[in-house]
């Protein structure tokens, strides 16, 4: 039984891989369709393998439910999933993201006015960004209560440092020649900031913003594990594990992955619009 299961899973994998290799090395490899098709086939292969293995190996659904069961749950629980999404992503993660981002920009611009501050903030910020900030979640829940405000605060702190460090580094990323050009025009601080340094900083800033999207989700959900109202993705995940409703847990994970990928994609898309001029974005 185990043998057949593994062999059929491997066969499936080989088949998916074969199709993808043909597509990727084929004549149409550069078309938009194939570019979407290849990762889709890859993902689909993984899902079918999952389904197959779970069913053939008779894994208990309270350990790992098959994808079809998750899909069914997802479809049946849309209103709950939506409410959780609003609580966790919209209220918690997005608010925190925006606050953290604005604060980071503000501090970056302030710090940037003084070389002294910049030299102080970059290492400290870099250090803070490397910290396991997930650990502050219980503290913030204690301070700000169980509702979304504490989640937003955790998220704000988590996204603050990567965005700050990237923005400060970005604001410094102008060539001596570009700065000298501004000096030959006798340009003051603000024109230099708006016309040279902010545009030049954009690739860095977006790098920080992209990193921050995934952190925002982690932060909001982690914080819910330490106290929440009776709604929210972290709440639902934790409660559903307790109720052995693993299909619901996975449905929430799917929501998180969809939301995260969408946010990330959105950022990447905006980045493409804003930094169209950067060599990495040019086609």
């Amino acid at each position: 039984m185990t043998g057949t299961a593994i062999i059929s899973a491997l066969a499936l994998w080989a088949a998916g891989w074969f199709i993808n290799a043909r597509l990727a090395n084929g004549a149409a490899a550069k078309t938009r369709l194939v570019k979407l098709l290849v990762p889709a086939i890859f993902g689909l292969t993984l899902l079918i393998m999952w389904e197959l293995l779970v069913r053939l190996l008779e894994v208990s659904p309270i350990i790992l439910p098959p994808p079809t069961m998750i899909a069914e749950r997802f479809a049946n629980e849309l209103p709950t999933l939506w409410a959780d999404f609003v609580q966790t992503i919209i209220k918690g993660a997005m608010t925190g993201y925006v606050i953290g981002m604005l604060a980071a920009f503000g501090v970056a611009v302030l710090a940037d006015r003084s070389d002294f501050l910049t030299r102080g903030i970059l290492p400290v910020g870099g250090f803070m960004a490397a910290l396991p900030i997930v650990g502050i979640a219980p503290i913030f829940v204690r301070w700000l209560g169980s509702d979304w405000q504490s989640k937003a605060a955790v998220v704000a702190v988590m996204v603050f440092f990567p965005i700050l460090v990237n923005t400060v580094a970005g604001l410094r990323d102008t060539t001596a020649m570009q700065r000298d050009l501004m000096r030959t025009y006798g340009a003051g601080y603000w024109p230099t900031l708006f016309k040279l340094r902010l545009p030049a900083a954009m690739p860095f800033i977006f790098n920080g913003l992209k990193i921050a999207t995934t952190l925002a989700l982690i932060g909001a959900i982690v914080a819910e594990f330490f106290g929440s109202p009776t709604v929210g993705m972290g709440f639902r995940i934790s409660t559903s594990v307790g109720r052995l409703a693993l299909d619901m847990v996975w449905a929430e994970i799917v929501v998180a992955a969809l939301a995260g990928s969408t946010l990330y994609g959105l950022m990447a898309w905006i980045e493409g619009r804003v930094t169209f001029w950067h060599p990495s974005q040019r086609k």
Binding site: S60, P61, I62, I63, P138, V141, R142, G145, S146, F225, F226, G227, S228, P229, T230, F235, S238, T239, V241, G242, R243, L244, A245, L246
Partner: protein
């Protein structure tokens, strides 16, 4: 050999005096005397013991009966094989100055509740009392309480869930005096459900070797419990020795042991069918969102304790 003598026990919380009986049995060699090789796995806020049991990561688990019966309805046939805890230590603790005196006063208040399978007794109680749990002036606003007492101290909640042996003590430790508080014991409200029973998988109980192993396990565990009741300070010390976090305080564990002893005192390990029925009735009365929908069959067995205690 391993199959006949190895036992892995999944606790439902981190190491504390709530589980003193098992640590004592291990430490005092009671398990060894029975020829058993016991491993105790501490739990945590997001480890579901029934899941561990289902996955084969443990042979037996401790669980609250509502959670175990719910798992049974979900298709995981767990069976209560012993019930060392006679009475429930669960209660709601409220600030007196919020004006709460009776259950009716809960309306319009915010109450902290543990979830993760521990919400069932509360939901049944509110449903029996006719109080909605979805907020508003007429109902209570439910807060998912982390496993600590901060919401009360911060006054984010008017009442929170506490165990007599743990969280209640923490509230007092924070400097609050008992006369600032009002407490509602589930036991007094007639909605008590059985806590900390020992459960195994039904299919395993068809295996005589396993049954024999469980008999010895329960016998040794109960010996541990009775020893702990008699020697609370030593028992607390043993628990501390087994606490790998090193963060537990001796005073708190001694106090906890004292409170725990009150809960285990009435039990020799055998489940009283009346207690079981009271638990089931409470859960079935759960109104619109019942924890279980039908009288469970075969959810407990006296076979193990009968053999262990004669």
């Amino acid at each position: 050999d391993a199959h006949a003598n190895d036992v892995t026990l999944q606790l439902q919380w981190v190491t504390q005096a709530q589980f003193a009986g098992y640590y004592v049995a291990l430490d005092q060699g009671f398990y060894e005397e029975e020829g058993l090789n016991v491993t105790i796995l501490p739990g945590g806020p997001d480890i579901a013991p029934p899941q561990v049991l289902a996955g084969g990561g443990a042979d037996v688990m401790l669980n609250w009966m509502p959670s175990a019966l719910a798992a049974r309805e979900r298709g995981l046939p767990v069976v209560n094989i012993a019930q060392p805890f006679k009475t429930s230590g669960l209660m709601l603790t409220c600030w007196k100055d919020t004006g709460i005196e009776t259950v009716e006063d809960f309306r319009g208040k915010t109450i902290g509740v543990w979830f993760f399978g521990n919400e069932y007794p509360f939901l049944s109680w509110m449903s029996q009392a006719g109080i909605p749990t979805d907020g508003g002036d007429e109902g209570v606003t439910v807060l998912r309480q982390g496993f600590n007492v901060d919401p009360l101290l911060n006054r984010e909640a008017d009442c929170i869930s506490t165990m007599t042996y743990n969280e209640y003590g923490q509230v007092l430790d924070a400097g609050v005096s008992e006369d600032e508080l009002v407490t509602f014991m589930y036991e007094d409200q007639g909605v008590a459900t059985l806590e900390d029973g020992i459960y195994a998988l039904e299919e395993n109980l068809e295996d005589p070797v396993f049954v024999d192993k469980m008999v010895r396990f329960v016998r040794a565990s109960m010996k541990g419990w009775k020893w702990a009741e008699e020697n609370p300070v030593e028992a607390a010390g043993i628990v501390l020795d087994n606490d790998e976090t090193g963060a537990q305080s001796e005073a708190a564990q001694i106090r906890m042991m004292g409170e725990i002893a009150k809960l285990t005192a009435g039990s020799n390990g055998a489940l009283d069918p009346a207690d079981f029925q009271r638990t089931v009735d409470t859960l079935l009365a759960g109104g619109s969102d019942p924890v279980i929908s039908a009288q469970p069959e075969g959810a407990w067995t006296s076979a193990i304790t009968d053999a262990a205690l004669n």
